[in-house]
């Protein structure tokens, strides 16, 4: 079983190499990519099942035992994230193949997409902080390329913002790594966990905060989120879907992982995280309300909802973390679905701007349904998938109020989260009104396609519908899933098993 661990990283890389070698044969490229992503999905499900049963699995790359070499670790959290991510990547790939656009026109799409997949998998699997940096870079560099495929003016402009801010974050990451190595002499996370504990409290706290900032840029926390809504919407449709679903969540994953594993209780910046969570929710949704473009509304919603996950993290309780993890899973699926639906909207309506669209509940009823349910889920309307983690957050929040410290702050954040979910509802309903109900005010800037009963080409609709069903399944099977998230959360709060498995003591 351990042999499987590196495959989700290395197989896509091999596929990337093959895909560029076979660039002339589009079909071969596609077969390779789809096959590899199917394989990684299967592998990650296997790993999830196994890890949930037997506890964390490790592989020491090159047989160099930790903390010397690079260790790959699968625990429940990483297995959950990996599974969801692989499924999204696969669905979006199929969608991209079905869509007339970036994938067809750029031979480089497939290899770069594979590198992205490898980077995402690497970020979830690695147990080494510097390797996390490298995985981030794989993912980000691939995302720079995907974002600017096509080279339109707005893409290049947005790409600059995105690349420059990401590079700043990467430099900060290196800085943090250098400082951590300087203080501890190691970059292995399990080893760091032990050694950071010996540092003086003030320095520990400073490190914790530094890492919050470093990962906060990737996760798009307030006030570090501005790059996101400017850059995501310009990418080709499916690419935005992957970005929206996965990239920020990798940042959230890194936040959760670093704060729970590396820093012992007492040195975690709880107050800072709580405040950040509240502000992120609020400013994100405020931004969403002010938009006219479907993609931009959704992009701001990403930001806003990162706040919920950070809130769950900031509670540092099993309930809070479980809700945060569940929220991440839900959000990945819902956001990806919605951006894929946006692709369908653009395909059918020729635009993603609301005043150029309208009345699609008549012209594309399937698309309307595909939009409405995940959108309501996004707003946390029961019984759709967003409700469960929201309820979990409220409960854990109120439960935390009973405990010591941060009372007023937690109540405040819970209140903000409720108001924000109302505003989220408003923002998605705005899309519903603008795109599906009201008549169009202007003729669309792009060319509209005629759509059949499905509302788009089958290869676009089917992956979207699959994710739609997946979202519903998550809501229906929330019981066992939530229990899994709780187990993952209690692993996080009690990282002893993780550390001993990695260090082999």
């Amino acid at each position: 079983m351990n042999q499987l661990i590196p495959l989700p990283i290395v197989l896509p890389l091999l596929a990337a190499a093959l895909a560029s070698l076979f660039g002339r044969w589009k079909v071969v490229q596609r077969i390779i990519s789809v096959a590899v992503l199917t394989a990684t999905s299967a592998i990650s499900i296997l790993l999830l099942v196994r890890v949930d049963r037997d506890g964390p699995l490790v592989m020491h790359a090159g047989d160099w035992r930790a903390p010397i070499g690079i260790t790959l670790v699968v625990d429940r959290l990483s297995a959950i994230m990996l599974t969801v991510a692989s499924l999204m990547l696969l669905a979006v790939l199929v969608y991209a193949i079905g869509q007339p656009g970036a994938e067809r026109h750029h031979v480089g799409f497939q290899p770069v997409y594979m590198i992205l997949a490898a980077g995402v998998a690497g970020s979830f699997l690695t147990g080494d902080l510097f390797n996390l940096f490298v995985s981030f870079e794989m993912m980000l560099t691939a995302s720079y390329v995907l974002l600017t495929l096509g080279g339109r003016k707005d893409q290049v402009r947005a790409g600059m913002t995105y690349v420059v801010i990401s590079l700043l974050a990467s430099t900060l990451f290196i800085t943090a790594l250098a400082l951590l190595y300087s203080a501890t002499g190691t970059v292995n996370m399990a080893d760091l966990a032990a050694k950071i504990g010996q540092l003086p409290l003030g320095l520990r706290q400073a490190f914790a905060v530094l890492l919050v900032v470093v990962f906060g840029v990737k996760a798009a926390l307030f006030p570090l989120f501005s790059w996101l809504p400017d850059s995501y919407p310009v990418a080709p449709g499916p690419v935005t879907a992957v970005f929206a679903g996965l990239l920020t969540k990798v940042g959230v994953y890194a936040l959760i992982r670093s704060q729970t594993l590396l820093f012992p209780e007492g040195s975690r910046p709880v107050t800072l995280l709580l405040i950040t969570a509240g502000l992120t929710m609020a400013f994100g949704i405020i931004g969403a309300i002010a938009q006219d473009d479907v993609k931009r509304i959704l992009s701001f919603n990403i930001v806003s909802h990162i706040g919920y996950m950070v809130f769950g993290l900031a509670l540092f309780s099993v309930g809070g973390l479980a809700a945060a993890i569940f929220y991440a899973v839900h959000h990945i699926i819902a956001m990806t679905t919605l951006f894929l639906v946006d692709g369908l909207i653009e395909h059918a309506g020729g635009s993603s701007r609301m005043r150029e669209l309208g009345n699609m509940v008549r012209s594309a009823p399937v698309v309307a349904l595909l939009f409405l349910v995940p959108a309501l889920g996004l707003a946390g309307i029961p019984p759709f998938s967003g409700f469960v983690p929201k309820l979990g957050l409220i409960q854990s929040g109120f439960a935390a109020v009973g405990g010591q410290g941060h009372r007023a702050l937690v109540i405040g954040v819970v209140a903000v989260s409720l108001v924000v979910s109302l505003l989220t509802l408003f923002s998605v309903i705005k899309i519903w009104i603008g795109v599906f109900w009201s008549p169009a005010f202007e003729t669309p800037s792009g060319a509209a396609h005629t759509v059949g009963r499905l509302g788009g080409p089958p290869l676009m609709v089917i992956p979207t519908a699959t994710l739609f069903v997946l979202g519903l399944t998550v809501a229906l099977t929330a019981g066992p899933l939530y229990r899994l998230c709780e187990r993952a959360a209690s692993d996080l709060l009690n990282p002893h098993a993780y550390i001993t498995t990695v260090l082999g003591r």
Binding site: Q3, I5, P6, L7, V10, L13, L14, A16, A17, L18, S20, L21, G23, M59, H60, A61, G62, D63, L72, P111
Partner: protein
């Protein structure tokens, strides 16, 4: 552009010398300063010399292969080397090695780290090629839709 034949020739001479040097760096990397990255970059620096005398066309003359082919092969070699030990039940990237005696060269130690480093070397060289592909085109030629350099690149 009229080329100075003698400059041309001497640059090619230097280029080949540096190339040999870079391969030397690649092979000794395990024991002395060097290795795939350094070697690849040195080769790349040598290429920039060729670019300076002859532009993109001159760079394209270096290799019969497309830059992305070199790169992709490099990645393929490295990842395969990394994957290979898995099939034998080892960890990923585990180095497998053998040592044997050859009549003339004496004791030879061979390990999978070498092909891995060769992959790295190829990727770096490929990258440098691509960079010239991307930026190296003559600004004047680019204004025309079908510059000669491109025809040449395509036929090669």
């Amino acid at each position: 552009m009229k080329r100075l034949v003698f400059l041309d020739e001497s640059v090619r001479l230097i280029f080949h010398a540096v190339l040999v040097g870079s391969i030397y760096l690649l092979f000794v990397g395990h024991n002395q300063p060097g290795g795939g990255f350094v070697a690849g970059l040195v080769a790349g620096a040598a290429m920039s010399l060729r670019y300076l005398v002859g532009g993109l066309a001159e760079v394209r003359r270096i290799s019969r292969f497309q830059p992305w082919t070199i790169m992709a092969l490099g990645v393929a070699i490295s990842t395969s080397t990394a994957l290979a030990p898995l099939s034998r039940g080892h960890s990923i990237m585990a180095s497998m090695s053998t040592s044997f005696d050859l009549p003339l060269l004496g004791h030879i130690y061979a390990s999978t780290t070498l092909p891995f480093d060769i992959g790295v070397y190829m990727v770096v060289v490929g990258l440098v090629f691509m960079v010239f592909e991307a930026f190296g085109e003559d600004p004047d030629a680019e204004a025309d839709e079908v510059p000669e350099a491109d025809e040449e690149g395509a036929t090669r």
